[in-house]
């Protein structure tokens, strides 16, 4: 086990702190907050997050099915939250890759849930699996596998790897 993550359940106080951190991550991220992501369960290396069905998130007007892109975003977000919840100290994390299989369309009108679980930690990488479902985790809408880089900014201030925007390039 690497030493940069938390692998014990810890006392209730830790659970309360994680739940608080998850809500901060949801509310503090404009995209997560705009899509209405809500964390239902959070523990070190695990997260369960919901997106409510909404008409402006429909991907196919003919069927009313929620867009695959919303599921993609919820998968990425939940995987990241599971990783963050398992860190021993807060460091920047970054998605390296995200692979998604879309098994079936979700049912129109139903909320979508993503359950993510870090199944392997190394010193610098967290490997995560996740499923998206509407009614039953045994009958998933999508399955994903992702790799996250830990301490993505390697001790530098957040965003140190970013170049300043070129003049006149802003949208």
């Amino acid at each position: 086990m690497a030493d940069n993550h938390e692998d014990t359940g810890g006392p209730d106080e830790a659970a309360v702190q994680l739940a608080y951190m998850a809500e901060l991550m949801n509310k503090g991220s404009p995209q997560a907050s705009s899509l209405g992501f809500h964390t239902l369960e959070i523990s070190p290396g695990r997260a369960l997050v919901r997106v409510k069905y909404r008409e402006d998130l429909i991907g196919d007007p003919a069927t009313g099915v929620i867009a695959g892109g919303v599921v993609t975003t919820l998968l990425d977000h939940t995987c990241g939250q599971a990783v963050y919840a398992g860190l021993k100290k807060a460091v920047a994390i970054a998605t390296l890759d995200l692979r998604i299989d879309y098994m079936r369309r979700s049912e129109p009108g139903l909320d979508v849930f993503v359950a993510a679980n870090v199944y392997k930690w190394t010193h610098s990488i967290a490997f995560v699996r996740a499923i998206a479902y509407d009614r039953d985790p045994q009958d998933p809408v999508a399955a994903a596998q992702a790799a996250f880089m830990l301490d993505a900014s390697a001790g530098r201030p957040p965003g140190a790897n970013l170049k300043p925007p070129a003049r006149g390039s802003a949208a």
């Binding site: 404009p30 429909i58 695959g68 892109g69 919303v70 975003t73 879309y102 970013l162 925007p165 949208a171």
Partner: protein
């Protein structure tokens, strides 16, 4: 179907898909060469500390670009359904406009393979790639 009607059809489709409207995705054509455009919007920010556009929104944008490119190739075909996507993130997406271009690597009777590249200020410095398979002849 002529190229122009195909282009009009794609642009119309993007305005009728609620989620494409939510993201603000646009397409620009130079002849038959298509570029997806994701104008920056505050709500796309995933990490406010950097700030950086959410990786999921970026993936969704690239997937929509791939679907639009398939419609350029096969204007009268049914709406393709995504089978799988694989997204690689190279750099954080800064709070500026993002562009994407898709290349259909193979389109068979049932399956299409599409690669997408996304960049911001400099095309030579891509921020992400997406590779995807689509069912081009969904049965329902």
């Amino acid at each position: 179907m002529s190229e122009e009607t195909a282009i009009e059809k794609i642009q119309a489709a993007l305005t009728t898909i609620p989620y494409a409207r939510y993201l603000g995705v646009q397409v620009v054509f130079n002849g038959d060469e298509m570029t997806g455009v994701l104008p920056f919007a505050e709500k796309l920010i995933g990490n406010p500390m950097l700030p950086a556009i959410h990786g999921g929104a970026l993936g969704a944008f690239m997937e929509l670009t791939a679907i639009a490119q398939l419609s350029v190739l096969q204007p009268s075909a049914k709406r393709p359904r995504t089978i799988d996507v694989s997204i690689e993130y190279l750099r954080s997406a800064r709070p500026v406009a993002t562009y994407a271009r898709a290349e259909v690597k193979k389109v068979g009777r049932r399956i299409a393979n599409v690669h997408v590249e996304a960049w911001q200020d400099r095309r030579v410095a891509p921020i992400a790639f997406l590779r995807a398979h689509f069912l081009v002849d969904p049965e329902d």
